[in-house]
Symmetry: C2
Subunit: 331 residues, 2 copies
Amino acid sequence: MTTIRDVAKRAGVAVSTVSKVINHYPNISEDTIRRVTEAIDELQFVPNAIASSLSSKQSGRIALILNPNTQTQAIDEITMRYMTGAVTRARELRMELLPVFFSMLEEKSVEEVETFLHSQGVGGLIICGMSKDDYVLQRLVAREHFKVVLVDVPISNASTSYVSVDQRAAQADVARKTILENQGPSKDVLYISGKQNGYVSEDRLQGMLDLARELEFNLSVHSGEFSEKKAREITLKYGEVNDIIVCASDLMAIGAMRALMDLDIFHPVCGFDGITLMGYAGKQMNTVRQNFHDIAAEAVDEVARLIGGEQGRAVIMPHELVRLEYMDIIV
Amino acid sequence: MTTIRDVAKRAGVAVSTVSKVINHYPNISEDTIRRVTEAIDELQFVPNAIASSLSSKQSGRIALILNPNTQTQAIDEITMRYMTGAVTRARELRMELLPVFFSMLEEKSVEEVETFLHSQGVGGLIICGMSKDDYVLQRLVAREHFKVVLVDVPISNASTSYVSVDQRAAQADVARKTILENQGPSKDVLYISGKQNGYVSEDRLQGMLDLARELEFNLSVHSGEFSEKKAREITLKYGEVNDIIVCASDLMAIGAMRALMDLDIFHPVCGFDGITLMGYAGKQMNTVRQNFHDIAAEAVDEVARLIGGEQGRAVIMPHELVRLEYMDIIV
DNA sequence: ACAGGTTTGGAAACCGTTTTCCTTATCCTA
DNA sequence: TAGGATAAGGAAAACGGTTTCCAAACCTGT
């Protein structure tokens, strides 16, 4: 393995000079830079990141904490978008990204993972897919050991940022569009909401309440807990007496749509997330596409900012209304 | 940060002794071990993995190279299973797992990623989802820089292992089951195969040829290239003149099934992979479940073995025949 | 009591960088 | 032309462990 010393010898300078060239320090003459650069090329020298981390106490490592519910494929798609977005951006910033799954963090072992991350020199965390009252999340944020960026959980302080779309507005937008498209006499709306304690659930619900006030329709709300099966059951029970069904997630929208098909009713349904699976529901549906890839990339940028010493803040990402159908999504 | 020197002072021994205790060296007295262990607990000492890597020249880092085709959600599910399996097992072995996506490896940048991995002290690679003649794969295997474990590509030599299910047998198994279940006069089988140059495709096709000989049916083969849309087109064209459709992947099976529904034909269809999406096809289907989670976990074990100095080998994982339907898969 | 072997523990070099001084050399300005 | 400011580059001490080698202490059996 060729080291910085080999380069120094080859270029006829001190190792410290080589280091300075590599790290673009000021006060190095053009000539020296050229000589060192040449030596680096000739020797095909690649700095040892481990030694660099040790010496500089900056590892450039961050952890991406995910909560892949292995039961539902919809979550897989979202989780993968987070992964690709974060990994790609991290590589661009020349950082290392360690994936950590929530299942490793169950109460008893969160401490173990914490010290593991510490021992690995991880300085920043990106946390996706946890509800705001989650014990693990609370703990990770509370100890100010890490800079953390939360996705979809609105906590921000000196060392914590969050990034999310405007859930409330987005939910109102997609529901408004769907309702206006299907004017008629339809004035009874069934809203299948998410989990009780989830922040996004609450915010989306608020969006629906806003809209009910705005458009003056009757709104009945049932909690589907983000479960396809639950949404199906709710629809089988209450689908017939309503005119339109708005769901707080695509997965639930699929459950609702399938239930309606079984009942031979054809009410419009809309969802939230913009996952591909929506194409398999059996009918075109409106939904709001969250760009999970970009959200995660933004989170990486944000954690880099925090590590760079900047203050935590809130980052709101744009959302987009789309309409998904089988023939459009297959490849 | 508390270091090994602090521990040494507290325990009244030399730093080398502390290191030996931590790494379970022989020839340390019970008494010394106890004193050191106590000091470690009292000081809440956690060894710095970076320093350890630098010193021992063993980083315990491996890279997981994935090929997430961002177009199809089916791939997301498989990729996520690989991820969770590998990440979980890596944590158990106290290794670090760096995810790398194929898209970062396009011809021009494979070299860059290679040196990046090197500089990060990565010693082992797990490569999933590439065909055996892929340039990147060839290159990564050829330079004997890394120990590599291939998933589903049968190359093994001194520093290369592979793990896969018995594709050929599995394809024959699921097709046999489906055909025998639907005896009748059905003797014309349409096989929608995978990509031409893919190893798994070829092997699965061999399995079908074996079975055609065994059960003496007419087999017509068309390449669906693992594309749902392609499988749909093939089925629209040839579905009617055959009695049973066997597909080399679940995704294609879904495409075929949907096409049959559009044609109002109800031939049996079977798939391969065992992904959840199969439940959304509209009808029960046979498929072979590959346990991607375990496959990836096994790959991590295997790369650890290789790094430990053992020889490359082939690892064949079990497969399982299953039948998937909507009501069974929703949660 | 002593030669020789075996435990046990310590000293110090080392891993490959970064970074902090510090020393020259060069350049203004009065 | 002296004097201080600035630019350029080097020496050496970190960073926090691991590992090699060596010495002391402890056993044996004779």
